[in-house]
Amino acid sequence: MPDLSRLLREKNIIFVTLALCLVFYLISPRFLSLDNMSAISRQIVPIGLIALGQFFVVVSGNIDLSMGMGSVLFAIVLGVFFGMTGGVALGIVAVIACSLALGFFNGVLVTKLRLPAFIVTLSMLFCAQGLSGLIIPRGQQIFLMGDFFRFIGAEKFMGLYWSFLFLVALFVLAWVVYNHTRWGAAVIAVGNSEENARLAGVNVDRVKIGVFMFSALCSGFAGIMLSSRMGFVQPGLDGNGLLLDGIAAIIIGGTLILGGRGTIGGAFWGLLFIGVINNALNLLNVEDVWHQVFKGAVILAALGANWVLWQSRQVEAH
């Protein structure tokens, strides 16, 4: 049964996404042009990184609200180091170190002090937002131009952006880890029932700290991608929008927000779904004010569809 429902769930989002693509193509043939496809592939990279990190956190039965503002903070960390040294190597090391530290901190507070993940990461959201403006003197903007940023932001390999390839590689790696390692199984077990996982010999605390470190690392990567594509950084970027798009992607992809269930493939299709909608609304010159209405309605519809598939599980899981 789980195999069947998994297939069904993934298929439903695949069908919806492809159907949407067809509709958009009929409205504007340019939608399926190679140029636009690659534009979509590049636009979804930061959201995709947030979605991937969030995926593991959510499956483990937690949530990480600090990912969006975190990626803004890490983009600025990179910018500040670039501004000081003119190079990127040190900046990237700093981003990785800072993000792992943030994730570790989140994880420890959640596990060792038994604070709810929601509260811990909500306060980290505020802290990251604040720090992002405080570490740049007077909140200035920094241009990020150079070979590295061009490489991440614009270089292609066989017609595909390197940043997109990186995202795909990370998804493949995550798929392997999630489906074929003990750690992946442990994340699911913790999300289903911490008690049972503990009884089965899983080190629950270590797993949870691990997922938070991974999600923070993903937001670090998202920050690097974001800043490279923009070509400049400044505080006050809307990290929350990024966070909510990422969460929407995995939920539309069939991940259970209560933990314990979800597939990487589904998350990827959910991501494409969000990316297609974001892109098409702009490309088809849909009036700006309708974007949010459309997005909200589509998410509600997707939730309704998932409800049909998950009905039994939802009732017992509350």
Partner: protein, 326 residues
């Protein structure tokens, strides 16, 4: 998220103890913050300033009280901020169309309740995750507000419509006694009515409540409708305050409300918490954050302080409780 509630539900008496203790912590912090601001700024205690401060958190009081009901059932409402903008838009349009303040009020409150009802049906009847459903209506309501306003603001001149949010008796804004009235009404509803008991029951254990015939599904729907109605009232107050309808009003207000409710000791997982705590949480939040806003502290520093307060209070609470348990 709920899997982290591995701890057995606390007995009622013990929960009250830890809540009382939280309230004492909050009152202490409020006193410290007030004294601090008083020293830093002679003008802080002028009656006019206190009026302005209270009025600036009137809307936060209302939506946080709605959020308290929701969080008592173990849910969450991310859509309130957007709902304030949407309900305001509907109210202002109805007002300009009919030129009747009463129709405007009714339209705003009903519009708020409508979004609340969507939330309630999806969450209560379909048993979908509150986080996800209200995330969708968060986008939907904001989008509808933008459509209604065509992304522009609309000026309002109707004195009766602006009265609640705009009028003051001397230094006392009309809205303050109004908020107090709402607090009393909601307290009666929560502590003295069967509905209130249903709210606690739905939050403590949905399935038990279900088996006992308390119909928690229906309770959930009404809790979200209530939150929507409070968002509608907030919309009226906001429009009165700025004598115009603004499509981007209330952006990320839900984060502030959730923070205030958590500060007030209400559990994220339902069943535990009181309205009084929320009032104290909003007061602390209002005095510190709005004190900083109004005195021109670096906005980034404000965010950092906000995060540290939230973490600090929750941490302090946990540590004290742990010591007690040992």
């Amino acid at each position: 998220m709920t899997t982290t509630t591995a701890a057995a539900p606390a007995r009622r008496g013990k929960a009250m103890d830890s809540l009382t203790q939280r309230y004492l912590v909050l009152i202490g912090l409020i006193v410290i913050a007030s004294v601090g601001f008083g020293i830093a700024n002679d003008n802080f205690y002028s009656l006019a300033n206190i009026g302005i401060l209270l009025r600036s958190i009137a809307v936060l009081f209302l939506v946080s009280m709605g959020m308290t009901f929701i969080m008592l059932t173990g849910g969450i409402d991310l859509s309130v901020g957007s709902n304030v903008a949407f309900a305001g838009g509907v109210g202002v349009i109805a007002l300009t169309a009919t030129d009747s303040a009463l129709v405007g009020f009714a339209a705003a409150v009903l519009a708020g309740m409508a979004i609340g009802a969507i939330n309630g049906v999806f969450i209560g009847r379909l048993r979908l995750s509150a986080f996800m459903v209200t995330l969708a209506t968060f986008a939907l309501a904001r989008g509808l507000a933008l459509v209604i306003y065509d992304a522009d603001s609309i000026n309002v001149f109707n004195g009766a419509f602006l009265w609640l949010g705009g009028q003051s008796w001397g230094n006392m804004p009309v809205v303050i006694p109004f908020v107090a009235l709402v607090f009393v009404a909601l307290s009666v509803l929560l502590y003295r009515s069967p509905f209130g008991r249903d709210v606690y029951a739905a939050g403590s254990n949905f399935n038990t409540a279900f088996v006992l015939g308390r119909m928690p599904q229906r309770t959930l729907v009404w809790v979200y409708v209530l939150s929507g109605a409070l968002a509608g009232l907030s919309a009226i107050i906001t429009v009165g305050r700025v004598s115009s309808g603004q499509p981007w009003t209330g952006l990320y207000l839900e984060f502030d409300a959730i923070t205030a409710v958590i500060l007030g000791g209400t559990s994220l997982f339902g069943g535990r918490g009181r309205l009084l705590g929320t009032i104290l949480g909003v007061l602390l939040y209002g005095i510190i954050i709005n004190g900083l806003v109004l005195t021109g502290t670096n906005p980034y520093l404000q965010n950092l302080i906000k995060g540290l307060i939230l973490l600090g209070v929750v941490l302090l609470d946990t540590l004290v409780q742990r010591r007690k348990a040992q």
